[in-house]
Subunit: 190 residues, 4 copies
DNA sequence: CATGAATGAGGCTTCATTCAT
DNA sequence: TATGAATGAAGCCTCATTCAT
């Protein structure tokens, strides 16, 4: 008993994220996390002070790490990649479920809420940088690029909801038309 | 003991909604609902078979009733009313919190998920009807009005998230610029 | 509301017996009895003061009524009818289950225990009367007919247990050999 | 809080048996077991998955352990020891109450019923072995020793019922006459 | 470092019982 | 006479958390 397992905090966080998405908020128990990670409950308490702390660190982790991966598309930004990359169901249902779950946590937990706000701000910024590369100026006068970035970020999240909740949502058809909207906007700017 | 209270199922549902928003998923307990409604836990079980049933009936209730009130703006639909009405924070943070909470419930509960999908479809339809009145044809060729309704519905939900999670979000400034986007789209269609 | 249902105490007792056997002691609830009888729980409280009272009246009912039917075989008493009649599984698994259930109730309820004791005494007496008709004198000197009646009554109950609890119990084979035992005893007495 | 108690599963089972006999099926609560064992309810759930599991393990325990003690008489088997040993009220009212209680549980729980059946089969076997030592051959032609063992086992259980339920049952007088029956059977075999 | 045993508070649920109608 | 709404106590069970080893 009491052998080093070589398990690190990040492993526990990964297990915790998986649990949160798989079981939902109500059944997100430390027992479940421990099982998922292959350790005992006691071990979790060696790494985290409380259950809430785990959730907080998940949020921080997303803020710091996950974002990088998700925003890798930053590089080869094209027209509709703007939106599609983060929204395609297959790629990130997991991420979006996790994200929305944390948002709902945020409703009653100021500290989480604030961090989620921070993440959103960062997302907006990333989109802003992407837009700057694509568009010389805003396609519509009086609408700043900052506003456009918020606009698209909101669109991304809202679409994720539709995709996740509606079985009959035709993602591909929608993106084809979305592409046209973006092209039109692009031409407006010239 | 055991006197009629004159309390009806709808009162319990109202109390339950309030609790769900106030306390969050984890602390959404039947004790809390009972207290909120001014009855005993036993009474709740006289009206609902299980806790899950309460949540299900909340979703159904939203589907059937709440929507009417929220969509009252259907009548005097103007340009940006399209979006703003449902999104203004002060008006319906309650509704949006409730809605997102149920969405997250839906992640792990197929039966709820399906109903939420239904609600989204209905929302899309309402927006579609509003758009038909505003626009003779789609402002952009190849983009159907159905797509636009999904587009705006997603935007509404995504914005709600930003509004709810970010203290520094300047709602008014954003809506002013959103208005311009809508005007531009409107003129495109001519 | 509040219509006479023509339901009488005996109907409720019948329903209660059925529940007791079907659901077992732990799940013997008044709700179950009410459903079985097709009335509401309130109705039960019109006829019985408490749940315990129902059980008590079941015992009394068995003591007074059921016994007559079960002991109808008294008339055509033959050799092994002595035992078989009351023991054949198909005929009275119901009765035996009820009886043993009440016995176990009696372990912790003196008033029930006493009545069960009374029932057993009556059973012994019935068997005694049957034996008197079959045998002029006891087949074994020094063993009274009273003892034989207890002996056979115990055998009947003990066999019922074996029959009820063992799937592989070969009732017919056993009774064939039991018949031989009884015949031998019969001849001993001559 | 949360200090090792040195209590083991077998201690909890012992406490549970005591409760089952003392309080009866209906009042056999985990709270009662916990108090009897001097632990908290939570501790019980650390060792057993459900309440039903406790009952199941009681049955298993009887099957494996108790039997050895009870059947110690196997060694010095004499005539009526055959029956008396297991039946004398003072010795094992506890065991018999427990046993009958479990039988009644078995009525509505197949898994328990099956194990009880197994126990009965084992009892029959033990009696069979005892009989083989006492009797060279069966006292009555056509009646196998297996049948006799079932016969006596049933008698034992049936008598236990009479002894437990009737205050006025004269155990000693009955056993004296039972002895005579056994002697007669013994002589028949010669 | 890590564990397993233990805790106690609290959650969901059932149930006997009551009472106004 | 019968009912349905309501109650509150109690039951089973889960869970975050603690602590000796």
């Amino acid at each position: 008993m009491a052998k080093p397992t070589g398990i690190e905090k990040s492993d526990l966080l990964t297990a915790a994220k998986q649990c949160l998405v798989d079981k939902g908020i109500e059944k997100f128990t430390l027992k479940a996390v421990a099982e998922q990670a292959g350790v005992t409950q006691g071990t979790i308490y060696y790494h985290f002070k409380t259950k809430e702390q785990i959730i907080l660190e998940i949020v921080q982790d997303i803020c710091e790490n996950s974002w990088n991966e998700i925003m890798a598309f930053d590089q080869q930004m094209t027209q509709s990649a703007l939106i599609s990359a983060k929204s395609r169901y297959d790629n990130d249902a997991f991420y979006h479920k996790l994200f929305f779950t944390l948002i709902v946590f945020g409703f009653t937990n100021p500290s989480i809420r604030q961090q989620i706000g921070q993440i959103l701000a960062t997302e907006n910024e990333h989109l802003y940088n992407g837009l700057k590369k694509l568009w010389d100026t805003s396609p519509i006068e009086g609408v700043s690029l900052e506003t456009w970035s918020i606009f698209f970020n909101a669109l991304i999240d809202g679409l994720a909801i539709q995709v996740m909740m509606r079985d009959d949502f035709d993602v591909d058809a929608f993106y084809q038309q979305l592409e046209k909207i973006l092209q039109t906007l692009h031409h407006l700017g010239k």
